[in-house]
């Protein structure tokens, strides 16, 4: 097993809040890894640190053994790390196709290509293929702002794939997606994983995580609590404690996206 991504002792504070507090995580090459934890446990913040959206003073991030701590988002992307956002961030006034094309212009030869026409035949064909892959190709010419929330999630997923990233970080990919599409989404992720891509998936839908992931890491209070295969994690009493403690604590802070859902399946088991 080779480790593709490794975080060591990463700490990030916002005022008095320790969003990350000496967080360690390892992701093995070629796996689909899950990252779960109660609301506010620092999952999104960890994604932000890895992808260059937040800078840290403590800790180190390594990709293939090479330190990438505090690189810019564009540099991280060029290294082959693609990322989607919990709250989708598509380019609303651009068409769905143009959204896809934005992500295809990543090479180092920017200066040579900048004045060429956007979207070669090959790029457009690839974009359409990916849009078909997530089943929104018929919307290619619509402004992205007209998409539903779930469709935006799918678009984000698709445009990140434009650059053929080795490693994908998905922040709640199933959130807001039509339940009938969730299985399709899992299928897509598996298919991409078979091609050799590694995934780190944050998700509150436990069924989705436990069914999809080879390995699950649980975060709590900005730290890694448990890491192992889904069964082990499911059985671990500390996980249940974290969620039970978390439910009361965080309900007033963030009740909207799937609070309650995380706790239920875990407690069912133990």
């Amino acid at each position: 097993m080779t480790v593709i991504l490794e975080a060591r002792g990463v700490s990030k504070r916002f005022g008095g809040i320790h969003a990350l507090d000496g967080c360690d995580i390892e992701v093995a090459q070629g796996t689909i890894s899950g990252l779960i934890g109660p609301n506010g446990s620092g999952k999104t913040t960890l994604f932000n640190v890895i992808t260059g959206y937040e800078r840290v003073r403590e800790g180190e991030i390594r990709l293939d053994g090479r330190a990438i701590t505090n690189m810019t988002p564009e540099a991280v992307f060029r290294l082959g790390i693609g990322r989607t956002f919990q709250l989708t961030r598509v380019f609303g006034r651009l068409s769905v196709m143009d959204n896809m094309l934005v992500a295809s212009q990543h090479d180092a030869s920017w200066a040579r290509r900048a004045f060429r026409k956007a979207g070669s035949h090959g790029e457009r064909a690839k974009a359409l293929e990916l849009l078909e892959f997530v089943d929104i190709a018929r919307l290619a010419n619509e402004p992205a702002a007209t998409l539903s929330y779930g469709q935006r999630k799918l678009l984000e997923f698709a445009y990140v794939l434009m650059a053929d990233p080795e490693f994908l970080l998905l922040d709640e990919p199933a959130g807001g997606i039509n339940p009938s599409l969730i299985n399709t989404l899992a299928e897509r992720i598996r298919a991409l994983n078979k091609e050799g891509r590694t995934f780190l998936v944050v998700e509150h839908n436990m069924e989705f995580v436990m069914g999809l992931c080879h390995n699950v890491t649980v975060m709590h209070h900005g730290r890694t609590l448990v890491s192992g295969d889904p069964e082990t994690v499911r059985r671990d009493p500390r996980v249940l404690d974290a969620y039970l403690g978390g439910v009361g604590e965080d309900e007033e802070a963030d009740g909207a996206d799937g609070a309650g859902a995380p706790g239920a399946p875990v407690s069912d088991e133990s």
């Binding site: 564009e74 961030r89 900048a114 060429r116």
Partner: protein
């Protein structure tokens, strides 16, 4: 399949319209020979070029520059200083300095952009104003610019009846050039990246868009036609002073023209400048009251904010395409020449308050 012929037809129509507009612009000074009229036309063309160039940066990226007069003044002063230093004699050949002035404006734009583009939104707007005032102060205080006494530029001894025509055609050339830049940029990789930056800069960076390079390139590129316009302005007037070459009114006018016509579109700034600058010049001549147009500008600005928050062109084309869609019940083709793609969130209010995305 049904849409294909209509798109081709639309394209022919557009090409025809463009050719007709060009023909009108070319014969204009031959038909309207009154020097007052052609002089108004020269100023109008210079503003059409400048507003279009401003739009290439600010309209596409959403970064509102209130400092483009820096490039205008730089172009004007470069022209005047070179002509004076080298004792160049007036004549058509002096127009060769116009592209040089444009390049000088680009050279200024590099450090200007490197500093200003480290910031966003309100801070960016404020820094562009600050840099602009620094340049105006320099023009007032440096020896080479001769301070507030200004610089005389050699005047050609052309016949008074056709004197304006060479200026007119050179200005028209700059308009065509600026429009071509705007058009091709809009379709380029860089153009798409600029629009993505306008929507969500950090997201664009996370998709590999080199936002810093892209913004700086657009900023420097947009300085070129403005510097060229400044040079023609200096030559046309025959003398320049710091407060006119580096004029805050230029900054405001260019923004207002682009807003009025439709920000982020190709035709909008052209139309806005055509209407507002010719109107302003006309009022100045009619009432020989140099400041009356300020009142009119203020009123217009409010009217645009309230009635046409997206500018004339997008509002009108939207109306037309909706009507067409209702008639044929076929989806209306999107017209990238006149449409600011999709639903705009950039209202003038958002822009002037720096809240534009």
């Amino acid at each position: 399949m049904r849409r294909v012929p209509s798109v081709v037809g639309g394209r022919n129509l557009k090409a025809g319209g463009l050719a007709a507009a060009m023909a009108v612009l070319i014969v204009f000074p031959l038909v309207f020979t009154n020097p007052t009229v052609t002089s108004i036309a020269v100023f109008t063309l210079l503003f059409m070029a400048s507003a279009t160039a401003w739009n290439v940066f600010s309209g596409y990226t959403g970064y509102v520059s209130l400092g483009h007069a820096t490039f205008f003044g730089t172009g004007a002063y470069l022209f005047a200083i070179v002509a004076m230093r080298f004792n160049l004699s007036a004549g058509s050949s002096l127009f060769a300095l116009v592209p040089v002035a444009g390049v000088a404006a680009m050279v200024v734009a590099v450090p200007f952009g490197l500093v200003a583009l480290r910031t966003r939104r309100h801070t960016f707007v404020v820094i562009t104003i600050a840099v602009f005032f620094i340049f105006q102060m320099l023009a007032f205080n440096l020896g080479i610019t001769q301070g507030s006494s200004g610089i005389q530029v050699p005047t050609p001894n052309w016949s008074p009846w056709t004197f304006n025509n060479p200026f007119y055609y050179v200005s028209l050339g700059i308009v065509v050039f600026a429009t071509a830049v705007s058009y091709f940029l809009r379709r380029s990789v860089l153009g798409l990246q600029l629009l993505a930056i306008r929507e969500d800069e950090d997201r664009a960076r996370g998709l590999g868009v080199p936002a810093g390079k892209a913004k700086l390139t657009a900023f420097v590129l947009s300085a070129l036609p403005v510097g060229m316009a400044g040079a023609v302005y200096a030559y046309f007037l025959g003398q320049i002073f710091p407060q006119f070459a580096f004029s805050p009114l230029f900054d405001l006018s260019v923004v207002l023209m682009a807003l009025f016509g439709g920000i982020g579109t190709i035709a909008g700034p052209l139309l806005g400048a055509l209407l507002l600058e010719s109107l302003q010049q006309y009022f100045t001549f009619q009432f020989s009251n140099g400041d009356l147009y300020l009142v009119i500008y203020g009123g217009l600005f409010l009217a645009v904010l309230l009635l046409l928050p997206r500018g004339v062109i997008p509002t009108v084309t939207d109306y037309l395409s909706r009507r067409r869609a209702r008639r044929s019940s076929a989806p209306a083709a999107r017209d990238s020449l006149t449409q600011p793609i999709g639903e705009p969130r950039t209202s003038p209010i958002a822009i002037v308050t720096g809240k534009a995305p």
